[in-house]
Symmetry: C2
Subunit: 417 residues, 2 copies
């Protein structure tokens, strides 16, 4: 018998309890042991919950209960969750967490103090078993690249915008449907995706980085002009979490990205998530499924509990021993080299295009394709470039923005592949 305590009995916690009960016989056969939820920690004991377990407000009743084998942390947030999980590890409990923010900041500290199993499948891409795929299924591979659609809110908004709908209108709808929070910044600003990317990158590259170390841009500036350009040139616009290794240098970045619509990951629409991984031995594999929701997340949490009940002890971030041969360095955003799309709004005057083209050329940026669209009273110039250095692109943009015929801040989107 394995006894668990759940810290944070909200939507996901309730779904874990419900599905452990519903699929009890099956789970016992697969795990080899009965899994019992003994108790749960909540903030408010008076709130009505449809669950038949002992509830307390004191997490230490669980982390220090000698009968509890696994502490399941579903409270969210960073600091308090960190205290709870550390206390659980200190008292030799195995830990299962769905908390991406906690791991984005403290995964390496937690790894260093964990002497018990520590699983976190639900922290990235909800119900998709991407942690196990990357840590166990692809363990033979040097990971060359990860591209993830790991925020369903953004993917839903961008998918709807393809139908010609406005960003603000779709965001409002997403909020009404429960896909986006009242304050949507964490999702649409790319921060949620960044947390998940950092977790994946640790498994791929054993690299410790915090959200503030990497490039994070959201989808707030994407407009229908960009969507039309993408259609015209065979691209989709997706918010991607990207991790890449080139030599001993690592790129980690989250931003809206133009990707060719022939790529499998470009075909992922709506709230669904997907992660494409390129390994040096296997090539590209992709993992697709629901990235959020109580039940999908509970599926991942329960699979972790079963893994522990089976007696398996996986290396938390995928490394049983330090990887001494590889000292990797995180690239700064200036050092990124990729293709770019630029949207420039100008007054329609003689010589405008020449001046812009000159400025791009002077900054080592060569144009791949160009589209000019008239708009009420002004002109939109849409460029895509060949591979360029981000530093050069930013310098060119600031120079072009200084021309008096440029009437709005320039928007740019990075192009992948």
């Amino acid at each position: 018998m394995v006894k668990i305590g759940i810290v944070g009995v909200g939507t996901v916690g309730l779904s874990v309890v419900k599905n452990l009960q519903k699929n009890r016989d099956l789970i016992r056969a697969r795990a080899g042991k009965e899994i019992i939820v003994k108790s749960g920690v909540v903030r408010n004991l008076n709130k009505k919950r449809d669950v038949n377990i002992h509830l307390t407000t004191d997490y230490k009743e669980i982390t220090r209960d000698p009968e509890i084998d696994i502490v399941v942390e579903l409270m969210g947030g960073v600091d308090e969750a960190y205290e709870v999980v550390k206390d659980a590890l200190k008292h030799n409990k195995a830990v299962v967490t769905a908390n991406k923010a906690l791991l984005a900041y403290h995964r390496f500290e937690l790894q260093s103090i964990a002497n018990t199993p520590f699983e976190y499948e639900a922290s990235v891409a909800g119900g998709i078993p991407i942690i196990k795929a990357l840590r166990d299924g692809l363990s033979a591979n040097h990971i060359q690249e990860i591209k993830g659609i790991i925020n369903g809110t953004c993917n839903y908004i961008l998918t709807e915008m393809k139908k010609g709908r406005d960003y603000a209108e779709v965001l409002k709808e997403a909020q009404e449907l429960g896909y986006a929070e009242a304050d949507p910044t964490f999702d649409v600003g790319g921060f949620d995706a960044a947390h998940k990317l950092l977790i994946l990158a640790s498994i791929a590259y054993n690299i410790d980085a915090k959200p503030e170390d990497i490039l994070i841009e959201g989808i707030e500036n994407i407009n229908l002009t960009d969507i039309e350009f993408a259609k015209e040139f065979g691209y989709e616009i997706k918010l991607l979490g990207i991790a890449k290794k080139i030599g001993n240098e690592i790129e980690l970045r989250v931003h809206p990205t133009l990707i060719k619509n022939s790529q499998m990951i470009a075909k992922v629409d709506g709230v669904m998530n997907a992660v494409s991984v390129i390994g040096d031995v296997v090539g590209e594999t992709m993992y697709y499924g629901p990235g959020a929701g109580g039940d999908a997340t509970a599926s991942a949490v329960i699979s972790d509990i079963i893994e522990i009940a089976r007696g398996n002890v996986n290396p938390m971030l995928g490394y049983k021993k330090p990887l001494e041969s590889e000292k990797v360095r995180l690239k700064t955003s200036d050092e990124i080299e990729t293709k770019y799309y630029l949207r420039i709004a100008v007054n329609d005057k003689l010589g405008v295009l020449e001046k812009i083209a000159n400025t791009l050329a002077k900054n080592n940026i060569s144009i791949e394709s160009f589209l000019q669209k008239p708009k009420n009273g002004y002109v939109k110039l849409l460029f895509s470039t060949h591979k360029s250095l981000e530093k050069d692109v930013k310098k060119a943009i600031s120079e072009i923005e200084n021309f008096d015929f440029v009437i709005k801040p320039i928007n740019f989107i990075r192009i992948e592949g």
Copy 2:
């Protein structure tokens, strides 16, 4: 240190040796141990092989070598491989195999005698870690349905036929490209996919069935008319391995299938593989990647070796204990209930359509859509039906074939979803 012996040093075996060497530091860090290939078994010692290990023709030198920890079986075939693997298990070796035929026939016997880890990730869908996903990542779920594109040869041929190319022409090209064997029956006849489906079904449903117990149809009768019909009505034609549970009844079948082109798995083209799994807790997840090739297969084989080196002991087919609550029954093909597409070639006479429609109605088959296409000298009638019983459809077909105006055997394709 973990020492392995490889039985069968062909394309995959050589790739295992090569990649273990190439990614040695990384694999040591991930596994926690050095992995050494000690020896290999080959049929012909005189054949030149680019490998620096001890070679022998006697498998017992490996299965009974006290220094060997893991026997990696890559010889293929059923009977001889079964002897080798049994001998390895008898001598307490862990086993890793890529052999789908062996497992299609003997997975339950092997499970019953294995007291050591037994892994077989490479046996289904090559480099895609679908075994681990189903056995470990989705372990919380009752599996409602599996749909797999698990034969790259068939998917390549069907993808090329969408361009208007003829079956025979594309098959010939596939043979030249090395995607299809000189005798392509095993692939295009659906037998390879059936072996893989049976392995997946055992994990999903703990069900023992042999290839001869299930419905297996190949793609040999698909022609350009079918492809055109599919396009016209928004379908793709894919050879699918399908496993379904309805109540306590299991459907296992391999056949060409019409699926709506909006489904994610319908978008998988060329030699790529993909497996869609619907679980009662998580919903649909899908796994995509290369289903064949020396390196892709080696990636899976090495991940199994690492899993064992890490000290994990997974239940071979996903069940630590018998699943007593569920007695499942395999449906016969007559009992299948799905939608159907029928292609009927007739002489253009008065009353033909009426007679066919009557025969369908008499057999409880109602028509969903209908397309009539003229052809040199005759007429093609293309029907899709609402949900019908396979037994009824077969009876209707044999009755319709008896009409003198029907000039060719009727072809039918099952429709999913």
